[in-house]
Symmetry: C2
Subunit: 245 residues, 2 copies
């Protein structure tokens, strides 16, 4: 199991003003889809565009939850730690995903950039003002929360009841589906995160993940194109495995 005690967690946050809400690719997939066209300027005035280097920290468990984020490009890993360093990745965020739900006033999880990541940052009070002003935005946020909840429930089934093979197959199919929904190609499937990230997402070890990879390769279900790209050569077969048969 991977430990996380020695990662360089210092923040690589840096301001950047190149991106603009007006022609933001992520908008239709994000909470900002709930803002009407005439409100975009207002939106822009209340957001900070920023980018984070790979392995850079975005927020940490226990920090006061002063901000909310919107991922506009790149991949983010969100995770929780046990005191002894055991890590559970609770999600990978991509274009349009929202980050920063918090009950009480502190984050209950940490988030780091996997690849270079672009983010929109909202301060909490400003976000609340926006939600007040644009009810569609709040409705949209509720929809995103319900969607995340559904993903979380799928992961619970995976973590509680699936075998290693079933977990990996489910992971592949889930990633394909998300990329497809974003209008990107899911096959060959890019995997920007490490085996250790995948393992900590699936509740396994890197060794077990690696063994499952080679097993799938030997069974003709996948083909590796480098270590971070997988061609799914038998989607139906993977689907069967993912569903438990």
């Amino acid at each position: 199991m991977s430990r996380n005690q020695d990662l360089p967690l210092k923040s690589f946050l840096s301001a950047c003003t190149t991106a603009e809400c007006q022609d933001c690719d992520a908008r239709p997939h994000s909470v900002c889809a709930g803002v009407p066209e005439h409100g975009i300027a207002d939106l822009e005035a209340n957001v900070t565009h920023m980018s984070v280097e790979p392995r850079g920290a975005i927020l940490m468990e226990g920090d006061p939850a002063h901000h909310m984020f919107n991922v506009t490009s790149g991949t983010v890993r969100v995770y929780k730690l046990l005191p002894d360093g055991r890590r559970q990745v609770i999600g990978f965020l991509m274009t349009g995903d929202f980050l920063g739900f918090a009950v009480r006033d502190a984050y209950a999880y940490s988030a780091e950039a996997v690849t270079e990541v672009s983010l929109c940052r909202f301060s909490r009070p400003r976000m609340e003002a926006l939600l007040q002003k644009f009810p569609g935005m709040e409705k949209r946020l509720l929809g995103l929360a319900a969607n995340e909840l559904a993903i979380a429930q799928d992961l619970m089934l995976l973590l509680g009841r699936k075998t290693a093979r079933e977990r990996l197959a489910s992971f592949f199919l889930m990633m394909v589906e998300r990329l497809t929904r974003l209008g990107r190609t899911g096959n060959p499937l890019p995997l920007p995160m490490s085996r250790s990230d995948i393992a900590d997402y699936l509740g396994l070890t890197t060794e077990t993940v690696s063994r499952a990879f080679t097993q799938f390769r030997n069974d003709g279900l996948i083909a590796l194109e480098g270590t971070d790209t997988v061609r799914l050569t038998d989607l139906a077969g993977l689907q069967e495995i993912a569903d438990g048969n």
Copy 2:
């Protein structure tokens, strides 16, 4: 691992008009806390009060999501199944909990009564009208969703990374906290659900759960008062175990 293929899933839903929103004990804990006092009559007009017998079905995975529910008393188990019968309980719902989030138009989980359960049922369009009319209700619903998400993330950490002992200790403490929040006594802790329900919630088998119970008993951490009530005799010890040490 418990299979769920032979459970009598026919619905025991039955109308009942005794409860009223005006003096509903669950209101301050539920989505209805977002409705102002002057809107209660409107709320009442858009809700059906009902009760479900133990083991009765409330909704089933795949059903069209025509309704949303509000638990006002009793305990509900929410779960997902794999085709071969493996079951993952994704939550136990109690007073004030909301049931019926659905992306797309179908439920992604099933729900059954553990004890006798009282529910308020909203039809989807009526609920949406209410949310439109009372923005506080939508805000409240978002808060409930964020809260459920946090609970789900805790469970992911549990399912992915904790040992059997750690899982059971975490479960006890989680139940205590929820009951306390509802203003009820959490110690001795009532456990209306079966060992098999607990096992399927914690990603274990009944045997392993049972062994952990007796281990805790032998270690002086708990005392059983019948099979469905546990006195937690060493909360600090349980907390240490739950956190991984």
